[in-house]
Subunit: 342 residues, 2 copies
């Protein structure tokens, strides 16, 4: 059972996409899950009324018991500086939602709003697991093989070797807990498979990861391996990179897949709907949201352009994260590692 | 008219792929172009005899007049340190070929061998255009719109803001000369379109590029824009990034396109050959080779796994670079810029 706070004001298409996403999620999540819509109550109530009278009439009864509105008069703007949001907007939907998580009223928080602000506020309000200096955003990449967890994909742009190592430690716990992988294999994204290839941080991280006891480290992997989910040395579960390269590749992938699909469609005269169906698993919105990894709680970061369907999936990711006790596992495991080192 | 030296020993499939590529090129290049095969003469001669007796029998006569073998007893290994190659292998096919270019015997050099060694040797033997501290590798990315020149894609892993600015200056000349673009539009690859988004080098480069007189700078572009060949602010011709992220995205793209094709093929039962034909322009080997930009000469870097077809295309890229006087233009234009600043 999970009670999840959703930032109803966050994202380019809020509050319609967020409220609709919550309603969609009701039909997919087990009955005991409850969603809190955090934001301007009058706006949210009006949207909820509109949607449950129209498209979501069938969900109206269920919504009454399982959707609650929580007032938050302010909104963090998409382009606002995270530090400004933290200092000056304690009553924003972002900070009110996260505070409810920190206080234990809800077990998870989901937002399609300002990513930087969500990251900073989650770090401050939920705090980090032992031994971490930064949280990371992990995303599942569809590959030719099994999906691969890539982190970081945007939370940290200038990463030290130590931070890359932290991402590996977090990623292993996530791959075990959320993906059910046994002794997950970790690869370090670089520009050549040899340990000496890469930028300064990657070269140093390769040495640190190779020396880390208990880690199933495969060594460097390249961009092509990421597409394949495997290198010449076999498949991997987790790929570690700094948030700059991770974010660029993620966004390139998001845009490339539909582009390739439309090119095939044009050149072959195939039915576009059939192609979309074939490629649904490449659609980022199917994954819904990326958990902010390393915080002591569940903070799911959704795409700013999230559709109702993406919000629904983000809420499902949140419910799964709560049920698997991901955050507790990360905290406990990293705590044990840290004690072992100390 | 161009005389081109080809490193006949360079690449995973040399000397078969290189010699076959040279023979293929003969049929596509105008009669006045001549190719020098540099390497172990006995090995090259045997391969040439084998191929012109078999698959390339029709080219045998043409080959006699337009293909020459130049002896070079040593080979730079694919994993060899560039500094070692430079110091200890003056008689390698790589260094002999480049020396012939530096001495003016040939006007271009092509290799599918050790990229780091080719870059270092080209820098030392051909020297850099005025105002440059590093050469860059540029590659044409097929996009939803027109192809976009991306640089750097692997020559420089840790780049300063000043180096990113150099790449922009080089890229503009290339886009004008080789792609025929008028006042090419330049984008800076980052993780958000706002000037303040990105890692430290990118943020600083954004300011320097925005302040550069005469440059058609669009600002930051994201991974998705790269796939589209355009951002919300319109199409662009050149994308600047450090060689680490550029190389990762390039290799991801190379692997992703055939992957998506095979997925469509499987799910729809389409003919694989028809799909390959539809996507030929996404195939990196079609482009053949990436010119090392910023050196005072033509040094074309081919993929280590180059097929005969890729080598042929690399030789065509070399011939076009010689004909367009790319290197002279870069040198003159960067020289003029440097004087204007001084």
């Amino acid at each position: 059972m999970a009670r999840i706070a959703l930032d109803a004001m966050g994202g380019d298409f809020a509050p319609r996409a967020t409220v609709a996403g919550a309603l969609l999620a009701l039909s997919e999540l087990a009955d005991e899950h409850v969603i809190e819509l955090v934001g301007r109550s009058d706006v949210i109530q009006a949207m909820l009324d509109e949607l449950t009278r129209g498209e979501f009439a069938a969900s109206a009864a269920a919504a009454r018991g399982r959707i609650h509105i929580v007032e938050a008069p302010d909104v963090v703007e998409m382009s606002e500086k995270p530090t400004n949001a933290l200092r000056n907007k304690p009553n924003s939907s972002m900070l009110v939602g996260l505070r409810r998580h920190a206080e234990g009223v809800v077990q998870a928080f989901v937002s399609a709003g300002n990513t930087g602000a969500q990251m900073a506020a989650s770090t401050v309000m939920l705090r980090l697991a032992p031994g971490l200096t930064r949280p990371a955003i992990g995303t599942l990449f569809p590959t030719a093989g099994q999906p691969v967890l890539v982190l970081d994909v945007g939370a940290n742009v200038d990463c030290s070797a130590e931070e890359l190592v932290q991402f590996a430690r977090i990623g292993v716990v996530y791959a075990e807990d959320m993906l059910g992988r046994q002794s997950p294999v970790v690869g370090l994204l670089s520009i050549g498979e040899e340990a000496g290839k890469g930028n300064a941080a990657v070269k140093e991280a390769n040495q640190l990861l190779a020396a880390m006891p208990g880690l199933n480290f495969q060594g460097n992997v390249e961009g092509r391996d990421l597409a394949n989910g495997a290198s010449d040395r076999g498949p991997f579960d987790v790929v570690v990179c700094d948030g700059f390269v991770g974010n660029v590749v993620l966004k390139f992938y998001e845009a490339m897949a539909p582009l390739v699909i439309s090119m095939v469609g044009e050149s072959t005269g195939m039915d576009r709907a059939a192609l979309d169906a074939a490629f649904r698993h490449l659609d980022y919105s199917e994954h819904g949201g990326a958990p902010l990894l390393g915080v002591r709680g569940v903070s799911i970061i959704s795409h700013g352009k999230s559709s109702p369907r993406a919000i629904m999936n983000a809420l499902k990711v949140a419910a799964r994260a709560v049920e698997s006790r991901l955050a507790e596992h990360v905290t406990r495991r990293l705590g044990a590692d840290t004690e072992a080192v100390a």
